[in-house]
């Protein structure tokens, strides 16, 4: 046997099976876990954002701020929300 053939045969020892269902399944499980992790992180961030917005809206009522300041705050919040929606739509387009 030539040296090159011997080298090729020794190299081939590391070649895995052509179809390996266990490996494919393991990849799919990891991909699914990764997707779930990302989804959960996004849901947590979204929840935290909603909670902060709610607190921001209720805070003036709880601290009895004047109605004028309350309206001003609501308009400001609405502008901020509109801006965030616009940016998200632009980014996703």
């Amino acid at each position: 046997m030539s040296d090159d053939a011997r080298l090729a045969r020794a190299m081939a020892a590391a070649t895995p099976k052509a179809r390996d269902q266990a490996f494919i399944l393991a990849v799919l499980e990891r991909a699914e876990a990764e997707r779930f992790r990302l989804h959960r992180s996004r849901a947590l961030l979204r929840g935290a954002g909603y909670a902060a917005a709610l607190v921001g809206l209720l805070w003036p009522a709880m601290t009895l701020v004047p109605a004028e300041a309350l309206v001003e705050g609501l308009v400001g919040s609405a502008c901020l929300a509109a801006f965030v929606l616009f940016v998200r739509r632009t980014v996703n387009a």
Partner: protein, 176 residues
């Protein structure tokens, strides 16, 4: 497998079709795992890194532009993960015991050759080892290997030639 067929699978996987992605994994796992096993040395770690590479490919599929083949692209991801992670030596040494079984009935290499080759591969510099694993182990062309490793073509050719010489030398030394 036609390029059109593969493009269809990639498009479906990109749209979230898990079975199309599974088919892509099935078609390319042998090349990627073989390449990483020869590059990393430890088969358990290499298979783990290959899984990581496929998961990364799955999440980055929207960035795949089709300028190279899918196997070249995914091998490139695998190589960078293996190179950057440097976790191989820190993980538990979980050796695969089925290396003889994977020969698929062919004439297996003698154990001494396998050991000598593994030892010699471990002494090669990382880039050279990767070039040898791709070109001599997986049958990639020099141009494809250059694409995977982000290296000039001439460098890949020289790595493969020098690496081949050293491996042949290691097998001869084992005989003496």
């Amino acid at each position: 497998m036609s390029g059109h067929d593969e493009a269809r699978l990639i498009a479906a996987a990109r749209a979230g079709d898990g079975s199309a992605f599974a088919e892509l994994v099935a078609r390319h796992q042998q090349k990627l795992r073989g390449f990483l096993r020869r590059t990393v040395g430890d088969w358990g770690d290499a298979d783990d890194l290959a899984q990581e590479a496929f998961v990364a490919a799955w999440s980055r599929l929207h960035r795949f532009e089709g300028r190279s083949s899918f196997r070249t692209w995914v091998c490139g991801i695998g190589y960078r993960i293996a190179r950057d992670a440097k976790r191989a030596h820190r993980r538990a040494q979980t050796r695969d015991a089925d290396w003889l079984e994977v020969q698929g009935g062919g004439d297996p290499a003698p154990l001494e050759d396998h050991i000598a080759l593994g030892e010699a591969m471990a002494t090669l510099p990382q880039d050279q080892r990767a070039a040898v694993a791709l070109c001599l182990g997986e049958g990639f062309s020099h141009a494809e290997a250059a694409e995977v490793l982000h290296m000039p073509l001439g460098t890949v050719k020289s790595h493969v030639n020098r690496g081949r010489e050293r491996l042949l030398q290691a097998l001869k030394v084992r005989d003496e």
